[in-house]
Symmetry: D2
Subunit: 349 residues, 4 copies
């Protein structure tokens, strides 16, 4: 049974696997000093248009968020995030584990609004007891967000402006960054992100790699002794080559963007299938995650044919369901979904 | 130039790579719920003779030590470790980062002595101000140790006895466990470890895998909500399959032990080469790491032909050098070392 | 100029000061082993109707909250608190500093509703991804709350029931406990609290002492090695006598309740003054803190005669202002307020 | 029975108590904004010869050490301290609780040697794997040390020089600072300390106050948002006046130094008593703590007449015993000790 439950169901892209096989027995030094990591670093710097950016590779998303937030904030600062942000809800308190509070902002379809940031900061400093409170030190955004939405270049620029005016760092969680860059209508690029953010990461786990995320600090933004901080967080890999080889493959000949674009196109087909079936969408997502409102009966029947992810209850008779495409989604999978949905419609009549 | 600098220079064993390739496009659920992880878990349970053991997979050694120590100790407890133990020196304070003190014991060629543990505990409780001190709560040992030495079954049994009598947990860091199990004269087995320890891990990164360590809690020893604790530590992989596939391959048909035995045999050849050359050894290691005392001039010349790891200064004219074999060491590599050493000897005459 | 800005403006009650003077040169052992601390402990046990309760004394409120929450929660748990709770907002992240998340609940005039707790827990366990979230482990309430409101015996009993049914600890922050116990209409007693809560503290700093809070763990509820945990938190006083002498005086002959009752009566007079002046109240508080809605012009003029605390903006022309009475409030102070308010009314006409 | 067990047996000095009584009912704002704290701050600045020093008051020694070390170190740094230092042994892991490792140095009668610091740093940076280790970021010394010894001006200057050359902060724990400043032969002054250290504290708890320690950051050395950090540590007192009044009294008319000198003179008498009795000293302490080697039989008999503190076993027949004088030691107490010792000598004959 084909599954659309999430975007980390398969191993890695063929090109990535090929690179792993080809380099497998080459001896390489540990802890990121290998030549693959150097290549990957150079490719990412070029893709970001920042030849002096610092690039580090770690294993997963929560680890990355925890590491970046902890090393970028001052000890008396917390991180501003949408109430629905991954760091707010779904990281088992990984941010608090490092001593920092997550300060929640309203979520606008998963996104943070610059005006809300501005208002939060104003209210904070206007409060005469703010020295007894957690200082806002950073804004965390995910792009695409947990709801598949993306920032426009204008929105991101405005957020960055408000952050800089208020001495807040801006951190972009790019666990699914490829799908945001390649979304229809997207005008945010890697180099714009590198210009506007203080730190961000380029997700590998969900975009073609077996594992791994690339942390990018634009020129001059790297915290001191960052390698030691990675080690202290338990996040430094002895075989740095594993991430190095994979990211070198992903950033060679635009593979990362090409496979991301594939996912967007597959998501378009998913959207069409549900639109054709007369279903409503919970959110208008231009990226690889589609949130469909399904009748509970349809949902149940559909579950006999394809995999999906229950997102949340919509009302007594409906449920919000997530269908995710990815770099790995096949046309055969899409057809299975189409047939399944057709069957459900027929049986409803 | 062939290198013996460490045991994590290559990717992964061919069988492991093959398994990764064969399963690559199979869809599998995340966070360790995949069938590969289930298989690996069953295989490890069987290898340990503990069908009810809890098995979890994480990415690297420091992460594992940090996670285990933090989740097993009470908040007011510290961990006893040899002064030379990895957690004492080379983890950038990862243990302290989680709030726990490393309490150091004398190191006997890298090993902890049961009598020292007993004495530490006695002295601690005899001290009338011990309520103002960090309680010893666990003993950390590495097997093999950082100096390549191993515990005998008698020594491990005695350590375990002293720990249990004194309400200390016993944790065995098995980053190189295969090389300890297969060392000449070794009488410690996986099932003995599972009977004597409260928790241990089976290293993959240094023994045939691209990355990954298997944490084993013998029956009844798993801390509550351990999955959530892994997540909180930033150590939970979305694609649990990566470790699952690798460990399933490593524990199929005794691969883990066979490739470890290979490393031991290669280490024997390394030892022979240096013995034949009349070199002394810093420590008598039966495992894959050999610590040779080399004249500085020899060392320099040798460095033109093969890679090694400078361990520490021995005296004005000599240096302790580490030569590590691994599952990946080739006979060709060994011959390069032999020729190189012969050249050095000749040029000395 | 007499001030009503808060309830910690003066030193300590005359009886407490007298006790400090009389015992000053008596030699006493450190760290709470002195006879004064023993007496205070016995008195508090008796007042709580729990002869086996554990009683510890620390210095201040935030310290107490931080210490109790950190030592009572499991590492994977967070604390539920009203959005307006002291631990949520005004402790500079002291709870997160120890690794725990504050999980916010709706605030009902500063109070937590049992139904909200129940719903939170249900929603949490119904969420299929709850293992990736912070487990609710405790409910924090303040009594009186930050808004001067108090729980009824029925409300507290219901909260306790919901907590016990859902394996949550219940912690009552009693920084101003005396004023809650002695409020008009209050039916919550110390012994009821001791029966219903897992831990609570009896505030000294705001109720007659120079400093100090008494932590009470009802029988069987003390965390293990709590003294060591206090030390580890930097909260153990060498001269435990300071708190011991003060609390022994406060709990002798009902002094704590008598001086609390005095504050309640003074608060009644404050309320009368503003009611007579036709002012509205922001909240109907039966305790020592009165929240009055004042016209900004009145507020400004009043500020020339007496001290108060600006709470928050009400609307363009009005401000919420706190007037606090305490054990120390004098009838002269009240008269100053009355005259000041009369002047303001006159000048308005 | 008169006790010499420690230097925190009594309440506070008469002048301090008088100041508390006289100011008791004066209304004063909270959190250190009161006029007493302002006066104390000015007096301490003057005593230190640093009109721009930052001065903060907290409650106890471990709290102070924890707060200073945590706020002064970078996250990847540890603190160097003598193996016998208070932070190394007797603070229940309070430093590690905040994430920092205590890096131990040899103790020379409780003191740290500049040459050892220099060697530690050299060895650290010479180690090619030092990025995987905890960086030394600060040197902690206690003056007087836990063994009653003091640094000479030359030693302290040398330590400061080595620290500055190696980018280490220098922190002086002055829990018993008065007794160090007034010791016979002492040439270290408050203003020298302020010139040579990055932060230090002036102990109140053991030198005339009920509680309280004054943290001093010389000009330009205060960490940013220090007040918020104090709050976050749970160390901010609502009634800052308590410390303010006491330290204002202690630093008025040189009271702090006069009462410290008294303790030194009393210690001289204690020393004479034991010297006259032919006892040996464990350490040659010029301060208020005297460490005497007593025969176990003598010790036992002496315990019937006066209080003391068992320090450690010396040999099978002897014990090291601490006799501490303080600002509170009375001539009557000294006479009791003299008579007691005489009785012991007689009964021995």
């Amino acid at each position: 049974m084909y599954s659309f439950a999430c975007d980390y169901l398969e191993g890695c892209h063929t090109e990535v696997l090929k690179a792993l096989c080809e380099t497998n027995m080459e001896q390489a030094p540990g802890y990121g000093a290998d030549r693959f990591t150097k290549t990957a670093t150079e490719e990412i710097r070029e893709a970001c248009g920042d030849p002096a950016a610092s690039v580090y590779f770690v294993n997963g998303g929560t680890q990355t968020n925890q590491l970046i937030i902890d090393t970028t904030l001052e000890a008396y600062e917390g991180v501003l995030a949408a109430r629905t942000g991954h760091v707010s809800v779904h990281e088992a308190g990984a941010i608090e584990f490092c001593g920092h509070k997550v300060l929640t902002l309203p979520a606008h379809e998963g996104k943070v609004d610059a005006a809300d940031v501005k208002e939060y900061v104003k209210k904070f400093y206007d409060d005469s007891s703010h020295e007894h409170m957690v200082f806002p030190g950073m804004v965390y955004i995910s792009h695409p967000s947990e709801y598949g939405t993306i920032y426009s270049a204008r929105e991101l620029t405005e957020l960055s402006r408000v952050c800089r005016e208020n001495h807040l760092k801006l951190f972009l969680d790019g666990a699914r960054l490829g799908y945001g860059l390649e979304a229809d209508g997207a005008d945010v690029t890697l180099s714009l992100i590198a210009r506007l953010c203080d730190v961000f990461y380029i997700g590998g786990t969900k975009v073609g790699a077996l594992n791994g995320e690339a942390i990018v600090f634009p020129e001059g933004k790297e915290p001191s002794h960052f390698l030691t901080r990675i080690k202290q967080h338990g996040a430094l890999s002895a075989k740095g080559r594993l991430a190095g080889v994979q990211f070198a493959a992903l950033f060679k000949d635009n593979l990362y963007r090409r496979i991301s674009r594939h996912a967007i196109e597959m998501a378009g087909e998913i959207r069409d299938i549900f639109e054709d079936a007369g279903c409503r969408f919970y959110i208008n997502s231009p990226t690889n995650q589609q949130f469909v409102i399904l009748e509970n009966d349809v949902l149940k029947e559909l579950g006999e044919y394809v995999g999906y992810d229950i997102w949340e209850k919509y009302d007594e008779n409906h449920t919000v369901v997530r269908f995710a495409s990815s770099w790995a989604t096949t046309q055969e999978g899409i057809e299975e979904l189409r047939h399944a949905m057709n069957k459900c419609i027929k049986s409803r009549k």
